[in-house]
């Protein structure tokens, strides 16, 4: 019995340190994800390009709201960044008190929902951006990037932050699950 109890008390500070490390990593990843989604939303939302040419066939003013997939991208990234900002206090609370189970569960549930949202938004926007770059021969869809250079660059670049946020959300779910599992085996 004595050795068992000694073993437990010598393990307790180490496992507490690991839980605290997990919670801190969670907080850091959340902050990075906030920055990424916010940057993507702003980069896509401030697109506005007008070409100084005149032709009756092609419109020469491009904004993100002309393509519904890009509108969805801006809205979804704003929602996800707002959620992540709101979940930062909860993450800080986990560092201070690593004993909370219910809040970690709530965090996992909402993280999973936000993962689905941000993945679908970034993927839909990628599909449209790819079409804008390459066009489609079969459907006779022209590549609009030929004319609208800076618009195209801006919308292509803003996808990167969203994909990084998606990977970070997967890692956040994994971290919360590990923290939950460690609670059970302590």
């Amino acid at each position: 019995m004595d050795t068992g109890e000694q073993g437990e008390t010598s393990k307790a500070p180490l496992s507490k340190g690991v839980s605290r490390g997990v919670s801190m990593l969670d907080l850091i990843l959340r902050v990075i994800a906030v920055v990424c989604t916010l940057a993507s939303a702003i980069a896509m939302g401030t697109t506005n390009e007008t070409l100084p040419l005149f032709t009756p066939f092609i419109q020469f003013k491009a904004r993100y709201s002309d393509l519904p997939a890009l509108t969805f991208f801006v809205v979804a990234n704003s929602v996800v960044s707002a959620y992540l900002i709101l979940s930062l206090p909860l993450s800080v609370a986990h560092i201070i008190r690593s004993g909370a189970e219910c809040s970690r569960l709530v965090l996992i549930i909402f993280d999973a929902a936000m993962l689905a949202l941000v993945t679908s938004a970034s993927s839909g926007a990628t599909s449209i951006v790819y079409l804008a770059h390459k066009g489609n021969v079969r459907a006779n869809w022209l590549a609009i990037c030929q004319q609208l250079d800076s618009f195209c660059e801006r919308i292509s670049g803003s996808l990167a932050g969203s994909f990084v946020a998606m990977v970070l959300l997967i890692l956040l779910i994994l971290l919360s699950a590990i923290a939950l599992a460690r609670r059970q085996t302590e």
């Binding site: 068992g4 437990e8 066939f57 092609i58 419109q59 491009a62 002309d66 393509l67 519904p68 997939a69 189970e101 970690r104 569960l105 996992i108 549930i109 999973a112 929902a113 993962l115 689905a116 993945t119 679908s120 938004a121 970034s122 993927s123 839909g124 926007a125 990628t126 599909s127 449209i128 790819y130 079409l131 804008a132 489609n136 021969v137 079969r138 459907a139 006779n140 869809w141 022209l142 609009i144 998606m166 997967i170 779910i173 994994l174 919360s176 699950a177 590990i178 939950l180 599992a181 609670r183 059970q184 085996t185």
Partner: protein, 225 residues
Amino acid sequence: MSTSEAATVIPVYDVAPGQGAPSKAPAAAPSAPPAAAPAAAATTAPRKFPMPFFQRSDRGSRCMAFLDFLLRIAAFGPALAAAIATGTSDETLSVFTEFFQFRARFDDFPAFLFLMVASAIAAGYLLLSLPFSAVVVLRPQTTVLRLLLLVCDTIMLGLLTAAGAAAAAIVDLAHSGNERANWVPICMQFHGFCRRTSGAVVASFLSVFIFVLLVILAAFSIRKR
């Protein structure tokens, strides 16, 4: 070790060396030594089950593991249907003009190709994870397996959502076109192709919803365990 009360049930749990007394034994006799705590859980309720697996204390987590198993089977159907529906979409029109191509296949659109591949991968993963889920039902105390399934489910969720959303963007474009970019809605001509791919997108989103339920259920069952 004291095998008290002439118990006929021999515990078959593997007690790992680092694992202390499980705190979930419901009516654990306080006199039971910690190394034989699973035996205590078995002997406090003196039922003589033929299989010593099925303990009352496991009922909740076993229920959830079984629900997980059922959800996996439920998600396999739509994923496979999406893959097959996209893969067999091929329509040739019987009209002739100089400007239009008249054959639409799924590999003319990279998004549909991605949808087919990702749905097939998800369906294959669900099939392969069925044995693991069955093992979790039979041995509810494995946390590592549950964690592994949760990680893989999350990755598959991301993949399938990405594929479904990309195809949905193309399908929406095919239905309504875009005036600004001068993109013509092709669904006017290719009815069957459009219907089939739209149905595939809907099926893949149904599968995504079930995946979300699977992730949430895995989180619940890790917590309860």
